[in-house]
């Protein structure tokens, strides 16, 4: 790790000011990706703005037909939340299968979403549920937010404040973990929402999380694992590595989609 300035603001406004005055500052929202990268000297931010003490970024609430989760809410808090369990039980399950207990008690939903790791679990849930990401500047639909590997619609100085999930009629997530890292080798989130069936896949796609339109069409005709029995996924769009080649990932997308529905 190289030397850096450490800031721990108390408000989003203060955090934004720090970002504005430090062009090479990075936000710390749990740090499970950023800190290891810094320790390996692969990242060298001049300043760190730690969001851990900003009360307005925390908390879980049900507002009308939406479940609203503050950006600095940890995975463990989401997994254990009675509000989440009663509103979108499957979302608590998504949080419960992220990493291990250490990760779940430090990592946050905002940190995960902002990082947009192609094998992270939350992006699939946000995309399938048609969530809205609220920042200190604007609101962004999940459909417009995820822009490929580790890339999002967030602009310089923008801080995720909270994420709003319209409560769906049905939601499920099935994950096949990478045997080593336990990130998603393939994770499929399925939702029956007010705007129709939405299916999102993480871990598998070359460009990160994506919507599986063929699966959406099949489930639109009938919400059952059976409806997905003929589903195919283009292996050319899949990642390939020592743990799973593209053909295996494409196959697992179908298996996980069926299990997510079941």
């Amino acid at each position: 790790m190289y030397a850096f300035q450490y800031h721990r603001p108390q408000s989003v406004a203060d955090a934004a000011k720090l970002l504005a005055s430090n062009s090479e500052a990075k936000l710390l929202a749990g740090g499970h990706t950023l800190l290891p990268t810094m320790k390996q000297r692969l990242a060298a931010p001049k300043a760190i703005v730690d969001l851990a003490r900003i009360a307005e970024l925390k908390g879980i609430d049900k507002k009308g037909n939406a479940l609203v989760i503050g950006a600095m809410t940890t995975h463990a808090e989401v997994a254990d939340s009675a509000i989440v369990r009663s509103a979108i039980a499957g979302l608590a399950e998504v949080a419960a299968v992220i990493g291990d207990p250490h990760v779940r008690h430090r990592g946050t939903i905002g940190g995960s979403v902002a990082n947009n790791d192609p094998a992270a679990d939350y992006p699939a849930a946000l995309l399938a549920l048609g969530a809205t990401i609220a920042t200190n500047k604007r609101e962004i639909k999940a459909d417009d937010f995820f822009k490929g590997l580790f890339t999002t619609a967030l602009q310089d100085g923008e801080i995720i404040a909270r994420i709003s999930f319209p409560v769906p009629a049905k939601f499920g997530y099935a994950k096949f973990p990478n045997p080593a890292s336990r990130y998603a080798l393939v994770g499929v989130a399925v939702a029956q929402t007010g705007s129709g069936v939405r299916v999102a896949v993480t871990g598998a796609g070359k460009d990160g999380v994506f919507r599986h339109t063929a699966a959406e069409a099949a489930l639109g005709k009938g919400w059952s694992a059976q409806a997905l029995s003929g589903l195919t996924t283009d292996a050319n769009l899949m990642m390939s590595d020592i743990h799973a080649d593209a053909a295996y990932r494409a196959h697992l997308v179908g298996v996980m989609a069926r299990r997510a529905v079941a």
Binding site: M1, Y2, A3, Q40, R41, F176, P179, A180, S181, I242, H243, A244, D245, Y248, H251, L252, V255
Partner: protein
Amino acid sequence: MSATGIGAPVRRKEDQRFITGKGQYTDDINRAGQAYAVFVRSPHAHATIKRIDTQAAAKSPGCLAVYTGADIAADKVGGLICGWMIHSKDGSPMKAGAHPVLAQGKVRYVGDHVAVVIGETLAQARDAAERVTVDYEALPAVVDVATAQSAGQAQIHAEAPGNTVYQWHLGDKAAVEAAFGNAKHVTKIDLVNNRLIPNAIEPRAAIGEYDPGQDSLTLHTTSQNPHVARLVLAAFIGLAPEHKLRVIAPDVGGGFGSKIFIYAEEVVCLWAARKIGRPVKWTGDRTEAFLADAHGRDHVTTAELALDGEGKILALRVKTKANLGSYLSTFASSVPTYLYAPLLSGQYNIPAIYCEVDGVYTNTAPVDAYRGAGRPEATFVVERLMEVAARQTGRDPAEFRRKNFVTSFPHATPVIMTYDAGDYEASMRKALELADYAGLPARKAESAKKGMKRGIGFSAYIEACGIAPSQAVGSLGAGVGLWESAEVRVNPTGSVEVLTGSHSHGQGHETTFAQLVSQRLGIPIDQVTVVHGDTDKVQFGMGTYGSRSGAVGMSAIFKAADKVIVKAKKVAGFVLEVPEESVDFKDGIFSSTATNKTLTFPEVALQAYIAHKFSGAQLEPGLKEGAFFDPTNFTFPSGVHICELEIDPETGTTRIDRWTAVDDFGTLVNPMIVEGQVHGGVAQGVGQAMLEGAVYDRNGQLITASFMDYTMPRAGDLPSIKIAMTSTPCPSNPLGIKGCGEAGAIAAPPAVINAITDALGHEDIAMPATPLAVWRAAQKSPTKMAAE
């Protein structure tokens, strides 16, 4: 059996300090004025070093020194050695290239040591290390052991043409060929024994210190055998004479073999400490551990088993290429030869065996002993062959093994070993019963109903432990004897320090050795302290590996304690005023038929030191005895492990449902610790079979260089293990101990693969059987077996 004696499940004494964070590992130790070493490592698998520019690094803030191979050469610091000479079939000695501690003009694997930077702080040393610029000319890399010897491959060491270190063999080739000529059935298999990265929890570390007043050096290091480290550092590397070099291996957090070896880092820390006149500390990070700790296994093998018409084995033929990595590590040469081929007889009567092994250089990290060392590789060959041969000839795998078991002892195999004791049938019987083998067809049917494939796999393993009779290993090329030493020091108040040349890095010696001494001397276990890991305290020792500390190390303690009792009886005779021969010692009490007075052990100890009851002419004062124990044979732990698992063919996920382990370790000192060793061994064996595998790309870059890609076994990957014991005490040591440290890791891999192949219905899958590999294999149709 007393509550704390041999056979009692005594809670581990050392756990109090480990669990409360009071252990003292090398990195916990800090010396006044300590500076920090950071190594500049090669990013290339194979390259010539054209130029190293250290100027910018030397000017970096807090940089104390930058040293390269040129400085090492100028100071005539010797290279690392390989301590076991292997001769090829043609009688020629193995062809080994030099193993410099800092590269001499060439690097041979990613992670090879190019330069060292010493800094005031670790961060400053790292900053400076980044400023060392090295101009490399990359050379083609040789990575794959199967093709490393082929024409046209790059030459890694000039001394070893064709990258071949040796072409060794063992056994009777002509007898094997004749037997194959008469065979009714031949089973042939091709196997890969996958490369593993040890990953002890504690990474390696070293602190070198120089005392100008005494002109002596001290090394704190993560070693399984500090005396051997001192011997090599003194006699071969030439840093200081033995009496001017102290090596301390304090608490060590796991070794699994990887901390037996003498590595470049500790040499450089010691040497640099003298150069800069300050203690120099290096603590490896996890990436360095992945790249540069010695790896394990990595064999490519073809094996054939010849059977007669009745299912009796006639002969075994094995050809193996063993990857030794880029340099020969301390015991690298012996692992795929004398620790491998002599185990190829397994638990079976095999009249003729012939094994050829090519030891091969590649541009990968050095490969050396890892838990089991050669014996897991041999067991994988034998037990895969047995399973496949049973399937091909329509025989039940348990019955086929039984038919060929060795049943009378001693039994001389055609590959050096003489098995001294065992009851293989007893282990098999018990294992079949515990595993409910009879209920398997019903469970298979149940799994099939759910769309799952259930399989069962056997592994009837044997290993050679208690390493080793010095004369025997000397005749096979070892550069050292493999006895062990001990000293039992009784204090005037009757408490005892046991000094041992064994080294505990997780094995629980502080408990088990105390159990032995407390029982022998009849004193409470808390009156016994075990001292190990310091060459200034313990006179000499050969360390801990090869499941030797019980069979060899404790036998030395047993002998020393016996000598203490002999001397104490003399003292008691004077105090009781009775003839020495009439003194009896039992359960801590000295008595005599000649008197009704008795003495306790502490009372005699005090008398030995105050020396009021005998004159100097009659007896030496004091109570302290030492002993060396050299075993007369290897020990032969054995057992039967049965793995039953269920495969989800849709995803390739394999869930181990049942694990039965029936082991014969001879005498058990502490059954709780033994069970722990079985659990850990099985976990590592399951890791090898299903999860772990070091992968280099074709350029020699290690792809699995972190836990993000290298899969260690987790608790959730393992079932609850059913453990049972049989016992045929070992006749070659006074305690009857055989050793248990490696058994699980040796037994497990073939049990898993035999179960997976049973479930799949064909043999075409390699380790590690990851979900991807199993899913692919599940696409293939089952082979029609003779049994069906």
